[in-house]
Amino acid sequence: MSWLSLSVTSADTLADVRARGELRYGNDAEGGAPYIFHDPAKPEELLGFEVEFADALAAKLGVKARFVQNNWDMLLPALSDPEKFDVVIAALERTPENLAKAALSRPYFAYGQQLVVRRDTANVTTLADLRGRPVGVLSASASHRLAEAAGAVAKVYQDNVNYFSDLEVGRLDAVLTDSPIASENLKSHPQLKPAGEPFEPGYYAVAIRPADTNLLAAINDAIAAFLQDGTLQRIYSRYGLWNTQQETLATWQAPADAGPAKRRTAWTEWRTYVPMLLRASITTIWVTCGGMLLAVIWGLCLALLRLYGIAPLRWLAIAYIEVFRGTPLLLQIYFIYFGLAQQLGLKLSAGLAAVLSLGLNYAANEAENYRAGIQAVPKGQSEAALALGMSQWLALRRIILPQGLRISLPSVTNDFIAMFKDSSIVSVIALVELTKEFQIRALDTGDYLGLGAMTAAIYFAISYLASLGAGWLERRLHRDRR
């Protein structure tokens, strides 16, 4: 087994597995059909060819398989923790990049890259036809690398589901994905069609901790046996996935040069990574500034409605504030970006949806900050203004707000700095901001430490500049008071 060139120390995970009677495998149930998905009839049960493969593999080792949920992005980093799971069975590609991070079994599944487009799309058969156009890909996948290399604008998604809806509504011109995902989703998306043939063959392999050589050998033997006795053919046929490509698995040989790729680190190649991170931080900055601008203005309207509005408007403002503060920002982003597009045909761009979500959410916080500030203005101030002959509105504008807003300013600027960090959440709608860029590059290189330090430094620099700005603003307002 020539691909087995990783460090060999005695490992007893196989013994542990047998003693425990359980093979724990990491996967992400969000992967969806045909890989792993909840049985629509019995939602607590999992289906999918990977689930059945894992079951068969465990049975071959004389134990039961147990699924452990983990974010797909973080499966390989999590594998290094023996407490979590023993192996990863999650459509992991057998690439030099992955070989640098874990030991990989011989392939259990063969696939190709498939382009998917809308039915009305003409003249797209290869990636080359999509230069400069938006193409949906899974974060840190082979598709991602291929799309970038071909000069397409790669829109990075965290899962295999949402890019098909964005393709349908027209936010994307194509999706590049693994052929099983394409064939499964084409069933449920009649408006979409495959473009061209699958290309760039690839293989899925089981990932194992490098020290677990016994387990690796046992798994390789099991896969070989499954290819002999037709177990894999039986499983894959149930999902319509058995094809001539799979037949090549039996005679598969590791490429002669397939040693682990040399690890790239952030420090040796900082000239590549620092500009990438800086470019992504521009997205972070404008999303935050746009979101905060909206939050500051809309929050003030909400605070005034809540404090001084007539009853129905006051109730609406209270309801708004409670709902937006009481539900997760993530949910609101999904609702605004995917929900509005699917239900109302309101196709917001990812940038606009990000600014809207952050702004609408933070507006609820700012409204409460303003309210606290306004209520902290002594009652005598408004009495003096009214006694002078001011209308309610004039007293508010000239006397109450200037003092109340000054009181709330520190909380508002705190939120501004907090939003820089919160803005990383918009990566779920295919917006590559600083944290997402970090994740992508860290998965590429495995250098979480170096890239993490660079990313943290950029966040720190931004926050520091922002707090300097806030301090300047506060001092300026105080100087106004002489």
Binding site: P378, G380, Q381, E383, A384, A385, L386, A387, L388, G389, M390, S391, L394, R398, I399, P402, Q403, R406, R481, R482
Partner: protein
């Protein structure tokens, strides 16, 4: 000039004003005295409707306003424009300098030009002896200075009557004289003032008439000499003895 008829006001089931009558001529200075909690502040606040009186009538010059809630905002504003108010705790606008405090009304309520408003404000600050403190914020002024700015702020609106609620009570004794001085000068100039005070020295010095309020009713009134020298009712005598 001012005529108050049968003014009543309750907080919950506590009747604070139980039918107060008061008339005051133009140019007259009236001092309102009485034990703590007898409703003096409430009475002043009902006059310019910082509190809404339950019933009764207030006439101020050509304006007549009935008690209760059925008063338009505009009427209420007209009343407040005619009746300036000076508070025990000054309530200067904390974000504005002395000059800005005095300019605020003329500039934004009377809508004078900036230059006119500033000229008027500087005149008034000079009058209360604070021309050198125009650019100071309230926090940088002593209590006596703040109260003089507050008086200037009220005067800047050219009110027909100035209502003052214990203008010297929040001040250290040594700071009271500067405010007494200003008020006495205003009285001499013929400003109509209705003054709530525990400061009998001030009342003696500037009041044309002293009104004794007790338990929500006017129980006795007269010139300072009469009321302080020879009060008619035992209640009044008792009160005066306690205050001295």
């Amino acid at each position: 000039m001012i005529a108050v008829e049968q003014l009543t006001k309750s907080f919950g089931d506590r009747a604070v004003l139980r039918g107060v009558d008061l008339t005051q001529a133009r140019g007259e200075t009236v001092a309102l005295i009485g034990p703590s909690g007898c409703g003096k502040s409430t009475f002043l606040r009902c006059l310019n409707r910082l509190e809404t009186p339950d019933a009764g009538r207030v006439r101020l010059g050509d304006l007549t306003i009935e008690g209760g809630r059925g008063v338009s905002r505009e009427q209420q504003r007209q009343l407040r424009l005619r009746a300036g108010m000076v508070f025990q705790q000054f309530h200067l606008f904390l974000h504005q300098t002395a000059l800005e405090n005095v300019m605020e009304g003329p500039r934004h309520i009377l809508r004078l030009s900036h230059a006119e408003a500033e000229a008027r404000a500087r005149d008034l600050l000079r009058k209360v002896g604070l021309e050198g403190h125009a650019d100071h914020l309230p926090g940088q002024l002593s209590g006596g200075q703040q109260q003089r700015v507050a008086i200037a702020r009220a005067l800047a609106m050219n009110p027909e009557v100035l209502l003052l609620d214990e203008p010297t009570s929040a001040l250290d004794p040594e700071l009271r004289d500067e405010v007494r001085e200003v008020l006495s000068q205003l009285a001499d100039e013929g400003l109509t003032m209705l003054l709530v005070t525990h400061d009998l020295q001030l009342a003696k010095r500037i009041a044309d008439r002293v009104v004794f309020l007790d338990d929500g009713l006017v129980v006795e009134q007269g010139t300072p000499e009469q009321l302080f020298g020879n009060p008619r009712l035992p209640r009044t005598r008792e009160f005066l003895e306690r205050v001295h």
